[in-house]
Every structure is written in C-alpha cells, then in structure tokens.
Amino acid sequence: MMIEPPDDTTMPPGGSGQAGTPAEDPLPRVLRELSAVIDSGRRIDTAEYLQRYPDLSPRLKEFFKTQGVDGLSTDGPALPPGSTLDDYRVIGEIGRGGMGYVYEAEQLSLKRHVALKVLPSGALRNQKAVDRFRREATAVARLSHPRIVAVHGFAQSGNSAYLSMELVAGLDLAAIVDRLRSARTHGRRFVLISGPDRDGDIAEWARGHRLIGTMPGDPHTEDGVVIDLRNYAHMAAAFGADAADALRHAHAHGIIHRDIKPSNLLLGADGRIKLSDFGLAKSVKDLSLTKTGDFVGSPAYVSPEQAASRRKKVDERSDIYSLGVTLYEFLTLHQPFAGKDVADVLRKIITTDPPPPSRLNPRIPRDLETIVVKAIEKDPAKRYQSAEEFGDDLRRFLNYEPITARPLGPLGRLARSVRRNRVAWRASVLGAAVMLAVALVLASTTNVFGARQVQTPPELVLDDPMQSALIALFNDLAAGIPDKERYQRIFAVTEQAQATLHEGDLVKLDAMLASLDAQIQLSSMAAVDAKLLQSTLRSIKVGAVRALHLAVESGQAQTASGERQLLGAIERLLGDADPLVCKNAAYALGDLGRPSSLGAMLDALAHRSDVSGRRAIIAALARLDQQGAVPYLAELVEDPEPAVRYAALEALLSLDPVDLELTLGGFADDGELWIRDRRERALAARGRD
C-alpha cells in the first residue's frame, strides 16, 4: 500500500514543470501519468495529486471517480503515533492508498498489534466508500483461513470509520515485483523481499544473517526472505498455491474477491502468502449481472468478462484469471497487457493474447507456464473451473507430478489466431486452410494432442526428509555447532546428493543443488564450511551435468517438455560459482547444440564475472553455432580481460557470420598485439582482408 508516484513527477507542486512557457494544459500528461500508475496496479495517493495540482482538482476527482479510485484520502490528517481511536493506540503509519490510511496499532484491551485501516473523515460523506469498508468487514467475517488476512471488526466512530485487521508485517507482491525489476535492471541476482529494500549485494549483506531461502517451506527466521532471480519458479508456484487456497475458501463461502492483484497478496513473516482487501468482494448470490459500465477492479488484472462489462457474468473464474495474471507478472516481471491508457489496457485484455511467459523469462519451467497460461484463458470455460483445481495443479508442479493442464497445440494457436482476426481470416480463407492442414499434419506427427508422457521424477514434497536435512544443516551451521558434528552434517547432505545422482533422479537432484547453492551463498556459515561444501559438491555437480548430458543425448526425456526440463537443469549450472561446473555445463550445452539454450548461455555470460566461466561459455557458443550469438560476442571487444576478448574473437571466427570483417572491426584496435595479429592472420587466411 505504498504510495509510489511515477519517477518523472518531480515538478514543483502546483506547477506544470514548464515555467516560462506558454500555458499548456497539464491535464493530459497528468492523466497519462495516473493511468500508468493504475496500470501498474499500484495505489494512487489521491491527496498528493490533488495537492500538487490544485487547479485540476475537480477534473482529477472526476477521473478518480470514473476509474474506481475513490478520492478517499483527500480529507483528514493522518493519525500521529500515540494517538488513540477507541480501543486502539496508533503506533505508526504502514501504508496509505485510495482507501485511506493503514496504521500499525495496539488494541489496548487485548494487548495485541493489529493493522488499522482508517477511512478519512471526509470520505464518510461518500456512502460508496463506507459501503466498501462495511462490505470488506462483513465478507471477511464469514471467512476464517490461515491464508486470508483476518478482519477483527468494523466500527464507525464519530468522524471516523475503520477496520481492525490482522497485522501482516511483510511486503505485498507489487512491492516485491518492483524490487525484482530493480534488481534485474542492476544485474543483481539475489533480492531481499522482506524488510528494508537493499540496493547492495545481498549475498554480501546476508553473511551474518539467517535467511529463508528460495525454496518454499524453509523455516521461519527473523532476518528475511531472499529470492534468487534465476531460480524462483518454485517460490512463485508456492505463492500462487497459497493464494489459490485462500480463494478456494472464499469461493466455498460464496464470496468472489474481484480485485486479485499483486498489491493484495501479502508476504507474511513465515514466507507464506496471505490474501487481503476484500473491499470489492461480492457474494455470489448478489453478483447476478453487473450493470453496464459498472467496472470494478484494477485494470491490468481484471478478467476479460470484467473488462467487457457487458452484462457478462462475473464468477469465481474471474478471480482465477486475476491470480493467473498476477503470477504471470511475478514470473516475467512484465504485465501481460500494457497499454497507453486504461481503455487501451481493457481493449487488449479482451482482444489480444499475451506473449508466452517463457519468452520473457526463459527460466520459467514449461509446466508452470502451462498452468499460468490456462489460468488466463480469455474464455472462462477454458480456465481452471475452480480455485481448488488451480491450486492442485500448482502443487503438482511443486511436487514434480504431471500437471493436468495441457499446453495449447499448434491447432489451438491457429484457431485462436483466426478467432481474433476474423477480417484477415475472411480475406485469406485459402491460406488459413493451408495453415490448418499444416497444423493438423504437424499435430498428428508430433503427438501434441496425445497424453503427455511426462517423465515423472520422484516426489519432492515440502516435508521431504532430504529437504528437512538441508534446512537443519544450514540452521546448525549458522548456529555454530561443533566442528565434528558440522562436518558430519555436511557430509550427510553430500551423501544424499550423491545417492540421488546414482539413483538417476536428475530433476530432484537439480532442485536440491539449486537450494544448496542459494543457501551456501546466503547463509552465515563459516568460510571454511562454505569451501568444504562447495568442494564436496563439485564432483556431484560435475556428475550431474554429465548425467543430464547423457540423458538428453540419448533421448531419455521422451518429450520436448521433459528435455527442456533437463536442459534447464544444465543451464542453471552455467551460473555455478565453481568454474569447473560452469565449464562442464557449457561444454555439454555446446555439444548438445540445442538452439533453445542460446538465451540461457547469453544470460550466464552476462552475469558471470570470472574469466574461466566466461571463456567456457564463449567456446560453447561457438559450438552451438547460432548466429544469434554474434552481436553479443562482438560486444566483448570491450571486455577488460584479454583472454575473454581472444575467446570471443575465436568464437566469431568459428561462427563466420556473413559480415565477418565488419564484425571483427573492433578487434583491429585491440590493446594486445597478439589479438590484433590473430584477427589479421585469420582474415588473410580466409582471403578476406
């Protein structure tokens, strides 16, 4: 519930930011700005805008009203710390937004801390706002679920109306997504998603702190929850499963939330998600048909049926859609439907298909992508029909079981395309028919309609003994147990990993190694323990790459999805801190030559800082033989390490692009004579210089 006006709104209050220029109506720009905030799903501090643009006040209020952003925080001062409101003593403000202020407060009679959502006094004149408050209270009063923020009560006292709610200390998912975006922009891998935002190196900061890792189910610790940007699909799925559980409970009690979005999913101190803000919730029996034009919800997250607002029935499946969009954004850090204004966003929600999540983040596992895509189907009948189904599929993904959702095949994509472009379709019936035939042939030869033969790895459940052993190990390491016991634990874990490798449970092993890697980097274990563990894990990781390499090469995966999962495990190890592991992964990917690995290899190349790892990846890119790598390799002419520049030069010579001389132009001025000479000799030998 933070107020986050866009970064470019720093002009002086009341001014247009264009002093001295002829009066330009600032309204369009301000409305664009507000639309952007709305699109992002963030709260708008209406009071701040009204204060900043007093001349526009009437028109802004109208805008807030039409957009469903009630101008509720425009009146009434915030409650200072120490002030009391009935039985509550205010401790401090923890947020504010369109619905008012949120405070941490102590309920004096029960000596408990609560969150107090207070409707500003002026807003009491707005019956719609009061109704919304009351609705939230009455809706949630019927619910009691650990994944739903509990509402203790609603009161209207004098000039105030307020809700007393369970206090959730963590950030909401919108703030978390902001942190992830910022980290990605700055090339940081680990992101603290609880407590104060940290710009620096989390891995460095984390030494001395006890943290929750990237696997769900880790025990609660006080210092924070960390996301590994390269490996948080499981955490996202766990968050989604939590939210789906909350929705299942609400739906079972006949309540539709209607405003599922990142800012309404709160991360608790236990690393689990709680659903909040039932202010737009409606009872199923009250829903019937919404009135024309009576649009509710946050534009970027509303379902097509909500966006259309044409007497379409809004039911539980709208919440499923919104949760799907929320997961889409969390996984890709992009909203599926971006537009220049609200109307544009709504139009796109109704008419266009978003890009597949894996196109925006290649690390998203295929199964999780399939689940998300099914949840955001435009046709409610094609979505999960209940939150329970949705949550169950997410848990199947978490447990490495086959999911029930099926990816859209080529025929499905074609049919969808035709449906969305009827004009073009009518103009080229023949072409469409040919495409359809091709799609059918393709489908019949690739078994896309048949049951997927997912290679089912062993179950990895949250209370898996192995996972528990890992967690116990790291807790003990942080707690400083005696050397002998510590080493025994380290070697017990190593032996488990070794056994997993021997059993051939490669996917399970990958999950285990990913968890270990994150913990090694983030835990407060002594340097010697980290070295010891890394050293003992090295041979296991090298063995894992080798086994994965062989599994892909021999076609053990059987399906494209299975193969991608195995390739993904190798690709993850490209980022391993140990150069030998990276070398093995790079060599394997180069040898396998799958074009789909290009993105992961370029990503790892961009993120690694060690010379050994980078030159191994560069050599593998040459073996992969994809021209898409050429511009990235050519950029390495600026690399400060001569060995990296030389490796890039050799890789470019190997790839031999059409404009080789031009591509190698930058190397002509290299600071190392032997690199310049290599370029000249190579071009001369090829008769091009």
């Binding site: 050293s535 041979s539 030998l580 290599r678 030998a685």
Partner: protein, 384 residues
C-alpha cells in the same frame, strides 16, 4: 590438484612414520617447556604416502642430532575434511608450521583455516595457482600449473615450431581447466592456436576414437596439404590417454606430437607411446638423469637407504621439509615463521632452486621436460 590429488583404492597403511616420530619425540632432550612441533600432514592412505615419508625421513636425519625439532603427524586421509581436521589438531597441539597438505583441493580448504589460525603450511605438490592466491598462509615448493602450461606452449612453438594444437580437457578436474586455459593463452600469444577441443571424463568407456576425431578436424585456415592438427595438449593426466591411444586407428595419429604435464610415469603409457605417435613430451618436478651434484647426492643417499630410486614426490617432500627446517625457530610463532618462509632465497633444492616470494610462490622455479622414448632410453630433455 595436481598431481597426486586422488587417493587410489589401494591403501598402504604403514605405521612407520608415527612410530619413528614417536621415538624421535621421546628421545628429544627436553627441559622446561616443550618446543612447538612442526606439523606433518600426510595422506597416509595414498599410494605415494610411503615415498613422501621416506623423503621426509631423509631430510630429517640430515639435521644435526642436537636441536632437531619435534615432528607431529596427522593423517589427512586425502580429503579436504581430513586435511582441515588434521591441520586444526596439529595447531592445537602447538605446531607453528605444517608440512602439507599435498593436493590442490585439500590445500584450498586448509588455507582458510590457516588464515584463521595464523599458522603457515608448505605444500610439496599442490600446483594450482589458486592455492597461494587465496590464502595468506599457504606456501609451496613446487611450480604452478600456469608455469607448466606456459613452458609447454613456449616449447611447442619455439622448439618444435608447432602452431596448430588440439586440446584434450579432463572435465572432471579443476587442475585440467587451469592447465588448458594457461596453455591456450600462451599459445595464442606466441601465434599458435587451439584448432579443436574435446572434453572427456577419464572413466568414459568410449574414449577409443578420441584421437581419430581430433585428426579428422578440418581447420579452415590450414593449407590443404598440411595437417590441421599438429599436436595434442593433454590437459589432464597422461595416464588418461591410454585408452585413446589403444583405440586410435587413423594413420594420421602417428604424426601427432603429444604434450602434457603431470602423471606420465605409468609403465603402460610408456610402453604404448613409442611408435604410435611422433613424439610425447611431459613435464616433471625432478629427474635423476639430470647432471646436477645435489640431485646425484640425494639420489645416492635415497637409494642407499631405501633400495629404490627417488620419485618426484619423495624429492618434493625432501625439499619442502628442508625449507621448513631452514627457517624453523622454536621461539617463533606462526606469523614470524611465515615471514621467514617468505624470505627464503636461492634455496638449493633437488627439484630446482627455490625462491619464495611474498605470496608463497617459488618464483621462476624451473621445470623438468622429459620425452618418452622406447623403454630404457633416457628421457630428460632440459629444464624449461
């Protein structure tokens, strides 16, 4: 590691050294406080553990009887955990300097502990550059892998005038990765280049066609009447190419020159190479064929005492022990001994002259180059 990092399955447990050390310790004239011992961290189960013990014993017995330091031993078991445990135990028992551990991996782990405890150690045989780079209290008396790779690249381009080399990389060892990178860089600086690379795991069952695949490589920059691959640099142990040599069928393999670093002393390898390739060169820490008076004295003393020729490991441990004895002072603590070790200059070792620098590296230590001929022929070529 280098060289001898992996403990083979054969376990040669011998109680000779502990017994011997115990006797020495008991007989040591001691009055008042015990002088701090010198720690010895040996992988007793390693097949070369006996050679290391013999080298150490020879060096110790060369000391004047009066004032000999106490030696205290621990078994590293050849593992990182064992080395760390052993090192900590030795320091707890008062050791102010330690001989060992021996392999790169064990030294990396031990280096962290040594930095914490401020007690230096001297490794006879850990050759990876990272050993002394990452620890302030790690020193060694052997040359580094980087120097080996650079020396071989220089030899290939200058002496043999070879410029097109294929790389065979053992993907299971960090040691091999460092070798491969340094060799590639030095070769490139000398206008040679790697024209092909094949990674392998030593326990692969299908390595037989590896050399055939290498000679089949077609390099776009090589004139058609010349071989694309002139030489193969083995970034790994020499013994790993035995199955490759056995399985090679392409006649072009006979024109190849093999280049390598450590681990080329196996009898099988030495029997296989003559006639199957044009030549095979490898590096070594020590050669009894070298016409050097100090080496000759050591060789004679060793043979007289143990009835066999000294190995690389025996010579390296002999040198490491003598370096430590030369600076040891019972009044000095670990920090002071580190300073003394870093000040060792022009020390006459049988494995070459030792000049330790501030980082604990034996600067510019020479490397023995040997060629594998028919059995019985001398192999020493020269020092690099």
């Amino acid at each position: 590691m280098p060289a001898r990092g992996r403990a083979p399955a054969i376990v040669a447990r011998r109680a000779v050294l502990p017994l011997w050390i115990a006797v020495v310790s008991t007989l040591l004239p001691g009055c008042g406080a015990e002088p701090p011992p010198i720690g010895v961290l040996l992988p007793k189960s390693a097949v070369w553990g006996r050679e290391a013990e013999q080298g150490l014993r020879l060096a110790y017995d060369e000391l004047p009887e009066e004032g000999r330091p106490v030696l205290r031993e621990a078994d590293s078991g050849g593992t990182t955990q064992g080395a760390i445990d052993g090192f900590q135990m030795l320091v707890r028992s008062g050791a102010t300097v330690v001989l060992g551990p021996f392999s790169t991996d064990t030294c990396i782990g031990t280096g962290v502990v040594a930095d914490d405890l401020r007690v230096p150690f001297v490794s006879p045989s850990a050759t990876a550059a990272v050993v002394t780079r990452d620890s302030d209290y790690a020193l060694r008396v052997c040359y580094s892998d980087d120097e080996v790779a650079r020396g071989l690249a220089a030899f290939a381009t200058e002496d043999l005038e070879l410029t097109r080399v294929a790389l065979l990389v053992d993907l299971s060892r960090t040691y091999a990765l460092g070798l491969a990178e340094c060799f590639t860089d030095e070769l490139a600086r000398r206008h040679g280049r790697i024209v092909a690379e094949i990674g392998f795991w030593p326990d692969d069952e299908d390595l037989g066609d590896t050399l055939d695949r290498l000679v089949a490589v077609v390099d776009p920059e090589t004139p058609k009447d010349e071989a694309s691959v002139q030489a193969v640099f083995v970034a790994g142990f020499g013994r790993d190419i035995v199955p490759m040599l056995r399985g090679a069928t392409d006649k072009r393999v006979e024109a190849l020159v093999l280049l390598g670093a450590d681990g080329w002393n196996g009898a099988e390898l030495r029997q296989l190479i003559p006639g199957r390739v044009a030549a095979a060169y490898h590096t070594s820490h020590f050669s009894i064929e070298e016409q050097d008076p100090a080496v000759a004295r050591f060789d004679a003393a060793y043979r007289a005492r143990y009835g066999e020729a000294p190995s690389d490991m025996a010579a390296l441990v002999y040198d490491a022990a003598r370096v430590i004895f030369s600076v040891y002072d019972p009044r000095a603590d670990g920090v002071m001994l580190r300073t003394r070790l870093r000040s060792v200059r022009r020390f006459g070792g049988v494995t070459g002259e030792i000049d330790l620098d501030f980082s604990g590296e034996p600067v510019g230590k020479s490397i023995v180059l040997e060629q594998i001929h028919d059995p019985g022929q001398p192999g020493f070529v020269r020092r690099l």
